[in-house]
């Protein structure tokens, strides 16, 4: 593909790219599928689907401790996926990558394990625009061990209020900041380096929820100087059932294990177990072997297109959407953040988001509608629900035009 040369996807590149996603040629209710729900979960290219199938057909066994060929090959493939993820995030070492089921589990792992090192009187600081995955685990921690939960407000435009963020850090009681790197509702890309620097200055560690961010841009956890970073495979063109926690080695070393079981111990008696070194300490039981391998392939695929090309393509789509959608009568785009990833939430006067979604669906167009697992944010915005279109590498400008045109008809139908 010539993408990496020109840093933007040509029409030909895009057709070639779309041809790699078999689902995109499906029809829904007799209409060609227009899939604008990638922020909920992305579709998967052939290489991922075929690679997983191929592993199960030719080179599968349980990993670790298997002294036989199939087990050694599976172990190599699984551990190679770890190396791949480490490179992808710019981690200092492959041991800093812990495989989980999804981003949610990665955050819960930190809340249970690192959280158990916090003390009553300390605080965890989140923001008003967190996904429930980066809110509920901290509420549960609060109720378990009696820390305080602080919430940094956002501005009316949908940016994090940095002054307020600074003020909430000021008393030095915040032990951990946990903030999204990109909002799944507003598309807001948060100023991660700044947030990290301010957190560190106040003596706090910081977790960035990269579930949305890693899909759209190159992330380097060492450049960000973050302490924890999480993402989820299924949004990155990879399989379900696999997610990632990255944390700095010394933090992982100091943290107690989350779950107990096989492969996470180095020795066990009935009295006492000795934990295995990281990352094994955090990977109890048989992991999602084939899914980890699938994630590695998905990352290869993403890098073969390149974030320059993907980023430029998605920025162009977003710009286009922000131009054509507000022209639909009655439609309001939610938020106006300084920097926005490929996510646009909107409402339409006199038409409930659920009716929008259902009527779009009848025209083959998949968008999400609801509170997007961010109820407190909805409340802050004074909404109960929005409709949300989200874009991926395979999205076309034409699809956004189809969306806008269909929204126009829906509006006419209702008013």
């Amino acid at each position: 593909m010539s993408a990496s040369d020109t840093d933007v996807l040509s029409q030909a590149d895009l057709s070639h790219l779309r041809a790699q996603f078999p689902i995109l040629s499906q029809t829904v209710h007799g209409k060609p599928l227009v899939f604008l729900d990638s922020a909920a979960s992305a579709q998967k290219p052939d290489v991922v689907i075929d690679g997983m199938a191929e592993m199960m057909r030719t080179q599968y066994a349980n990993i670790h401790r298997g002294l036989h060929w199939m087990s050694e090959r599976s172990t190599e493939a699984y551990e190679a996926a770890r190396t791949r993820v480490a490179e992808f995030l710019g981690a200092a070492a492959r041991e800093e990558i812990v495989f989980t089921r999804n981003s949610t589990e990665a955050i819960n792992l930190v809340a249970y394990s690192y959280g158990s090192l916090l003390r009553p009187g300390q605080a965890v600081l989140i923001s008003e625009m967190e996904h429930h995955a980066n809110l509920v685990p901290w509420q549960m921690l609060r109720d378990r061990i009696g820390i305080e939960l602080r919430v940094a407000p956002i501005t009316d435009d949908g940016d994090l209020d940095l002054d307020a963020y600074g003020a909430l850090l000021a008393d030095g009681k915040v032990g951990l900041v946990a903030i999204t790197h990109m909002s799944n509702v507003l598309g807001t890309v948060t100023p991660a380096e700044r947030l990290v620097a301010m957190a560190h200055e106040a003596g706090a560690r910081i977790l960035l929820d990269g579930s949305q961010a890693v899909v759209h841009r190159r992330v380097n956890v060492q450049d960000l100087k973050a302490d924890f970073y999480t993402f989820t495979g299924h949004k990155l063109y990879g399989p379900t059932g696999i997610g990632v926690l990255w944390a700095r080695r010394e933090l992982l070393d100091a943290m107690p294990p989350f779950m107990g079981g096989g492969d996470m111990i180095s020795s066990v008696t009935f009295e006492k177990s000795v934990w295995a070194p990281v990352p094994a300490k955090f990977e109890a039981g048989t992991p999602a072997i084939v899914e980890a391998v699938g994630l590695g392939i998905a990352i290869d695929w993403v890098e073969s297109i390149g974030f320059d090309a993907i980023g430029a393509h998605e920025a162009a789509l977003t710009k286009h959407a922000l131009r054509v959608l507000p022209e639909v009568p009655g439609l309001s785009v939610v938020g106006k953040p300084r920097e926005r990833g490929g996510v646009v939430s909107f409402t339409m006067d006199d038409v409930h988001p659920h009716d929008i979604a259902t009527l779009l669906d009848r025209n083959g167009i998949a968008v999400r509608a609801g509170h997007h697992c961010a109820e407190p944010l909805m409340r802050r915005l004074g909404l109960t629900a929005t409709a949300r279109a989200s874009f991926a590498a395979y999205t076309t400008e034409h699809e956004i035009d189809v969306l806008a045109e269909t929204l126009r008809r829906i509006r006419q139908f209702f008013v």
């Binding site: 006199d350 659920h354 009716d355 259902t358 009527l359 009848r362 609801g370 109960t384 139908f413 209702f414």
Partner: protein, 145 residues
């Protein structure tokens, strides 16, 4: 727009201008139904006497399906006995939740025609609760008055 007629004229019209919105005078019971997953909220006020439901009004915040379902419910249950109304709600829910395709639903001769407008929901199962929520709230109201 919608060849399968999920958004039947009666649904769209009722959602835009419900006939039974508001609050009844001297209610004998009130109830609220909430679908936390989507934020739909139905508030009912009912005046029921010896012979059954005399008046029922609602304040509904939600999608077109939910508003229309509430409004049409108000229409068809007014004048029915409690038992009769609850039983109708059950049959309505069963009609929507049964696995049979929309074309082949059991021929329920007693089902008011207006309620059949919701049959296409059978192929949009994620929206079923939008239509059954008012009936759940009605159950609350009638069982606690």
């Amino acid at each position: 727009m919608d060849e399968c007629s999920l958004y039947d004229t009666v649904i769209v019209t009722r959602s835009r201008s419900p006939h039974h919105a508001g609050v009844v005078n001297e209610p004998t019971s009130r109830a609220q139904g909430v679908n936390p997953l989507c934020g739909d909220r139905v508030r009912l006020s009912v005046r029921a006497g010896h012979d059954g439901i005399e008046d029922l009004r609602h304040e509904t915040r939600g999608c077109a399906i939910c508003i229309a379902a509430t409004d049409l419910m108000a229409e068809v249950v007014t004048g029915r006995t409690r038992t009769d109304a609850l039983e109708l709600g059950q049959r309505f829910t069963d009609m929507l939740e049964s696995q049979s395709p929309p074309g082949e639903v059991a021929d329920d001769a007693d089902m008011p025609e207006v309620l059949r407008a919701f049959l296409p929901l059978k192929t949009h199962r994620s929206r079923l609760r939008c239509a059954t929520l008012p009936w759940t709230a009605l159950g609350e109201a009638l069982n606690h008055d």
